[in-house]
Symmetry: C2
Amino acid sequence: MKGLALAKVYQLLEPGPVVLLTTARDGRANVMTMSWHMMVEFEPPLVACVVSNADYSFAALRATKECVIAIPAARLAQKVVDVGNCSGRDVAKFEKFGLTALKARRVAAPLVAECFANLECKVVDGRLVNRHNLFVLEVVQAWTDPTQRHPKTLHHRGYGKFVVDGAAIRLKSKMR
Amino acid sequence: MKGLALAKVYQLLEPGPVVLLTTARDGRANVMTMSWHMMVEFEPPLVACVVSNADYSFAALRATKECVIAIPAARLAQKVVDVGNCSGRDVAKFEKFGLTALKARRVAAPLVAECFANLECKVVDGRLVNRHNLFVLEVVQAWTDPTQRHPKTLHHRGYGKFVVDGAAIRLKSKMR
């Protein structure tokens, strides 16, 4: 994994990829699938996400205030679905689905080696957690896997339907 | 435009499309381009979005507490960029870019006739506006254009780079 400038993190999350979210609590790592996230600020990169209080990850995220957002390429689609279809209450998901946990630098939650990008995050604003399960995170360290070139991401449309990234286009724009 | 069940709204926004956001204040409609949004709740559909306080739309959204999220298909890419590259302070964007404002049912902000989906929204939680420019919206009425079948959406990667929806895949999943 190679470090990524924090100012470029938004280019990974702004397109709306399905991501994995890892947490660690009492020495136990867990991973879930998530599509409800957005950028909030460019730099330092702030990200908002919604983690249902029915998810096993919710309590770990709220208690530890740390997580990793890992971005899988489309070839991991089946694992992404498998991870989303069970709970860390019942399953040791890294082992069961053959995902490799790597030690992060700034948080206890692990990186996911198979993902092309990993973002180490800390909760910086929890005011909307009770009402909306909405966490505001700061990305404090970002990594990319330089061996995965031009990865295509997944976008969830509900009930197992996904759209995979298609053509890239470039238009003249002043927008960052 | 045909009404869309509110329970299906998340399937439009969860994949992370670039959207247009319209507002209306003192009889003047405006439209901006936005990629920082996410689902917060299925039903009633709640959506969070970030509108910079540097954007002309910010004051209108905060004051009126109403907006429309309009989802453009990829063929509107050039208009989407043009809308994002200027400000409503200087330009009457609907007229300049040949977009058609339609009257909404529940809000004063207009629908965009050229978009394949339009979501009428009201601000329901403004607690993170001052710190993060983050609004929580409730979608109170949703519309789709039945003549636009299987529209492909745009996903922004920064500086005029976009990815267009590619192949749709289906995997067996319990996830809503």
